[in-house]
């Protein structure tokens, strides 16, 4: 039976939730507002919140200075490509770990996760030399593979957690009905884990979209995604906050819209198996 909550408490929680949400969203809102200010208004003290001369000049300048759509397409290809490639490897791996665990599976999982804790700068030079030798510098393929590899532990862990919630008896039943391993994974396991796979996919697209260390270091121009587009608007000498905000808004808009429309799926997937 559901517990009764008093109106005061309900209002209290609602206001608190909105307050927290606004606090989290405020930096993004401030970036968007700044993108419509002049450079002088962007640095005004006290800060101008809504009452300033709105201008789209920064967007026009950013458009004229940088090939936004080339960076955008690179971001789409790299983030979606690396996530799909990662899923292709992680689904069988997570299946094996969830349903056919070996003696060292737990250790293996922990080791995979621990690779995420290694500082990326420590392997920059070896990676750069490998990329140079293989002709992968500034290629979409090269950076896609790198992002897939760095996100693979997270993808595998997430899928492993979701798969563990699926009763192994269902897979056993499929096997008894003569399903091959391929059919078991493709036609029995995958459809049941769709919410989990979808949220893994979305989360990893976001992670790959926002990745800035490797994309800045291993791409130059042809394969450069939106992270390099943003990086080009910071200036050591001269005001740049409004233009940088316009570039940032343009870079985060696609992923913000994707997140907005898929939030139900994302929350459902992330809380999958949380309640028993």
């Amino acid at each position: 039976m559901a517990r009764k909550i008093s109106d005061t408490r309900r209002w209290g929680f609602t206001i608190l939730a909105w307050g927290v949400a606004l606090l989290i969203f405020f930096p993004i809102l401030w970036t968007i507002l700044t993108s419509f200010k002049s450079e002088a208004d962007a640095i005004a003290s006290p800060p101008k919140f809504l009452f300033f001369d709105w201008t789209t000049q920064n967007y026009a300048e950013v458009q004229s200075r940088s090939p936004y759509f080339r960076h955008f397409m690179n971001s789409v290809i790299i983030s979606v490509g690396s996530t799909l490639l990662g899923l292709l490897i992680a689904i069988p791996a997570a299946w094996s770990m969830a349903f056919q665990p070996a003696k060292r599976t737990k250790d293996l999982l922990m080791w995979m996760l621990s690779t995420k804790m290694m500082p990326a700068a420590g392997v920059l030079i070896p990676m750069y030399l490998l990329f140079r030798s293989w002709g992968l510098l500034d290629t979409r393929m090269g950076i896609t593979v790198v992002l897939m590899l760095i996100n693979l532990p997270i993808i595998t862990w997430m899928l492993y957690t979701y798969f563990r919630e699926i009763p192994s008896e269902i897979l056993e039943a499929a096997r008894m009905d003569g399903a091959s391993l391929k059919n078991e994974i493709l036609h029995v396991l995958t459809p049941m884990a769709v919410p989990g796979i979808a949220s893994t996919l979305l989360l990893n697209v976001i992670l790959a979209w926002n990745e800035a260390f490797w994309t800045l270091n291993l791409t130059t121009s042809k394969a450069a995604p939106l992270t390099t587009f943003i990086a080009s608007y910071s200036s050591p000498e001269g005001l740049f906050y409004a233009k940088l905000s316009a570039a940032s808004t343009m870079a985060i808009a696609p992923i913000l819209i994707l997140g907005w429309f898929s939030q139900k799926q994302l929350v459902r997937g992330l809380t999958f198996g949380a309640v028993k």
Binding site: L129, E237, G238
Partner: protein, 435 residues
């Protein structure tokens, strides 16, 4: 007939498709500053004259650019054909064999026209390794109205004592007007650029001839004590977070009486579009102590030895740093917008002198900078607001954090200097100095 026509059309199509394949693409890594961005928009005369060369620009934030280009050049990645580097890096990289010497730049180039202190900093064994695109020194920008109100007159080159006195008199904290704005944000290119040059002016070097750090000396103590005292008394609140851009914003909005910083700032504070005090700005040479405060920086174009298009790259560098390019900018955007601080001929040009009221102090500041003798004592390094050793970026930032902490009141001047001495001794021993 139709066969022949089809054949001709096919040949034409093949030619059209093949044309881009013949073109050589130059990838140019650059920083985001006004002059560099302007150049990207003005390359048409170059590409028209050189249809076989295409330009691909990669603009990055200064620190990202430095890290990215260093990685690429050190590993011979060959990603860039031309790189934008400062005069701090040029001699170090040239010594490593990472840059091509810029010889035979063409008959029109006139290398002798480059300002001698700038050319000297970009040369190794008499050879130029980078072409200066724009150069800067430091000067005082001050509010003429506030100076008048304080009953003072700014000398052509004031002493530090005059600056401190004027700063106190110009300060009106109730009206949010602060007598002096100086860099306080930690970083080798932020507060340490200012404090290294200020220290040198007080007779305080980083190292003696045996590479022993000198932070426990009397000169450093006096310099840092004066800096912290005047900033506490007449500086803006939160000054330990202020770098070039923060001070620029403060000055442009009328909150600073004086600002001692890079000469490039003059074009920003005198631009009425962004600055509320554009018509009330005066300029003077950087202050004098035991020696005049010296500062010399140049953004340059250099060619990595790993490039596969050295001839095309040299052609572009020669064009971008030529007198002809300066004239092109002047014709299209006015003399006040030409890249300053590199050529003698620019400062002899009456049209430039008229359009840029800061031209003379800029030239005088650059010409008085002596990279080899930045302070009163003899030193084993070159550099005015930096020290020309590879370790300086990390070391300068670590020392800068101590000095920033002293400004924020988290440490005393003595503690900050003691810590700076320890850090410098440790890092220099680790790097194997004296070499």
């Amino acid at each position: 007939m139709s066969m022949m026509l089809r054949g001709l059309m096919g040949a034409c199509a093949m030619t059209a498709l093949a044309a881009p394949a013949w073109a050589e693409t130059l990838t140019i890594a650059t920083v985001n500053n006004g002059d560099m961005i302007r150049m990207q928009k003005m390359t048409k005369p170059f590409t028209d004259a050189n249809p076989d060369i295409q330009l691909e620009w990669v603009t990055l934030e200064e620190n990202v650019l430095r890290q990215r280009v260093t990685t690429d050049i050190a590993t011979k990645g060959g990603q860039y054909d031309i790189v934008t580097v400062g005069n701090y890096e040029v001699p170090i990289w040239a010594k490593q064999g990472w840059l091509l010497a810029l010889e035979d730049m063409g008959a029109d180039y006139d290398a002798a026209d480059i300002l001698p202190p700038i050319a000297e900093g970009l040369s190794l064994d008499g050879k130029l390794y980078a072409a200066p695109f724009y150069g800067e020194s430091a000067m005082i920008m001050y509010r003429t109205d506030l100076m008048e109100k304080a009953g003072l007159e700014m000398p052509e080159r004031p002493t530090w004592d005059f600056i401190y006195d004027a700063a106190r008199k110009m300060t009106d904290k109730s009206a949010e007007v602060y007598g002096i704005c100086l860099r306080g944000k930690a970083g080798w290119g932020e507060n340490m650029a200012f404090l290294t040059s200020m220290g040198a002016s007080y007779g305080a070097p980083w190292f003696d001839m045996e590479w022993k750090p000198q932070f426990t000396g009397e000169a450093w103590k006096k310099a840092l004590t004066d800096y912290v005292a005047i900033m506490n008394e007449a500086g803006p609140p939160g000054a330990s977070s202020n770098g070039f851009n923060e001070n620029l914003a403060l000055f442009q909005t009328g909150k600073c009486g004086m600002w001692i910083d890079a000469t490039v700032a003059a074009s920003f504070v005198s631009n009425p579009k962004d600055s509320t005090v554009a018509d009330k700005v005066g300029y003077a040479l950087a202050p004098e102590g035991e020696k005049p405060q010296m500062w010399l920086w140049a953004w340059t174009l250099a060619i990595p030895s790993s490039t596969d298009a050295p001839d095309a790259a040299k052609k572009f560098v020669a064009w971008a740093t030529s007198k002809a390019y300066t004239e092109q900018v002047a014709a299209e955007e006015g003399w006040a917008n030409v890249p300053p601080g590199t050529r003698t001929s620019l400062y002899e040009n009456p049209a430039y002198q008229e359009a840029a009221p800061f031209a003379k102090p800029t030239l005088d500041s650059i010409m008085s900078a002596d990279l080899k003798n930045p302070t009163t004592a003899e030193v084993p390094y070159i550099g005015t607001q930096w020290v020309g050793i590879p370790e300086f970026q990390a070391l300068g930032t670590a020392v800068g954090q101590q000095f920033s902490a002293a400004l924020a009141g988290q440490a005393s001047v003595d503690q900050a200097l003691q810590m700076a001495q320890q850090i410098a001794e440790r890092e220099m021993a680790k790097a194997g100095y004296p070499k």
